[in-house]
Subunit: 227 residues, 2 copies
Amino acid sequence: MRMSELSSTSGIAIATIKYYLREGLLPVGESTGVNQASYSHDHVRRLRLIRVLIDVGGISVVSARTVLDAVDDPEMSLSHVFGKAQHTVSQSDLYVRPPSESARRRVDALIARTGWRVTPENPGRIAAANVIDAFAAIGHPELSDLVEDYATAAELVARADLESVGKQPDVAAMAEVVVAGTVLGDAFFAALRRIAQEHVTAEKYVVYGPVSDAVDPRRSAARPLQE
Amino acid sequence: MRMSELSSTSGIAIATIKYYLREGLLPVGESTGVNQASYSHDHVRRLRLIRVLIDVGGISVVSARTVLDAVDDPEMSLSHVFGKAQHTVSQSDLYVRPPSESARRRVDALIARTGWRVTPENPGRIAAANVIDAFAAIGHPELSDLVEDYATAAELVARADLESVGKQPDVAAMAEVVVAGTVLGDAFFAALRRIAQEHVTAEKYVVYGPVSDAVDPRRSAARPLQE
């Protein structure tokens, strides 16, 4: 297809597509003449992956290129694509700020207990420790105990993630799924957590009927503690 | 404590604290004279909660005020604090953009199957449906099947979340934990998912020794499919 069709199919403006081509995020099309190139459905998919990385993952164009270079490099091991995706997508302050020694040790202890084999460079270590510090800072250090159930859930999700990677037909598709899954998986889980939280809140605190203004769940929320 | 000590204890600049006071995010201190007020440790904790909402949750000062007003309103039901926290923190495009009908139905079907009781307004419904659309857009509709294991994990996490809420000594602390947990819980899970992913990748694709450059996990990744 021509550039104009690539734009209408993907829903991305021609100027933006040209920018991605210049920055090397999108492979050039097959040349069909002077200043003319033909694009395939692979270009449409790649454009959408770029938008996911930038819009959902919130990463920069430069970072998106780093990740996509890793996807496209057949010599890059799958673990490295994972590492690259994790490091690039995880750019919030939580992944950078040095956590306290005690929070670090808490994460180390969790890893030892679960038997997980993880390198010291894994970006999740620092972020998890920073969250533990944040719980303490807001006066709720007891929330760190959530780490146990969260870790169980995280391993369940990671196994599902890796299973979906393993089902891909080739290594290029695997690498693509690793990158997309890192970004979209976080968002997917956060969405489902919000749905499940509403259900569990209703189940736990509102004994009659659905959640409504008619009852005062905050008062009934206090009930289990008072009775 | 005086304003200067509140600043040094919390690590937040005096100008910023004054801004939060003006905007109503932070309750005023106890007046101790003309232009003098005394602040307590509750102010330190509240300041840190504000920073968590803004820095980790990425929400605006105005949105932070909406959430904190809900926390401080004793008439506000716990379900409503949850709803307010979820809606305010979930401001990415995924929570706004209208998803496809088929993706919506997929989420509805999940909710019916799990037996979750959820209102149509839950923000997670739209976000989950948008992620399903994004999987299809990048050419990987099969990733939507992740929803099953993700939902199981999400319910496990939601139960842990609500248990931590239930353990709070009073309704004010409950509301605070709901808000902090919404923001920090997302970050905590994402961090632990990254750690678990590295472990599962190593377990699944690298049969001998730790992940290293010496082996080519991408090639060994392809092996299970070829053998």
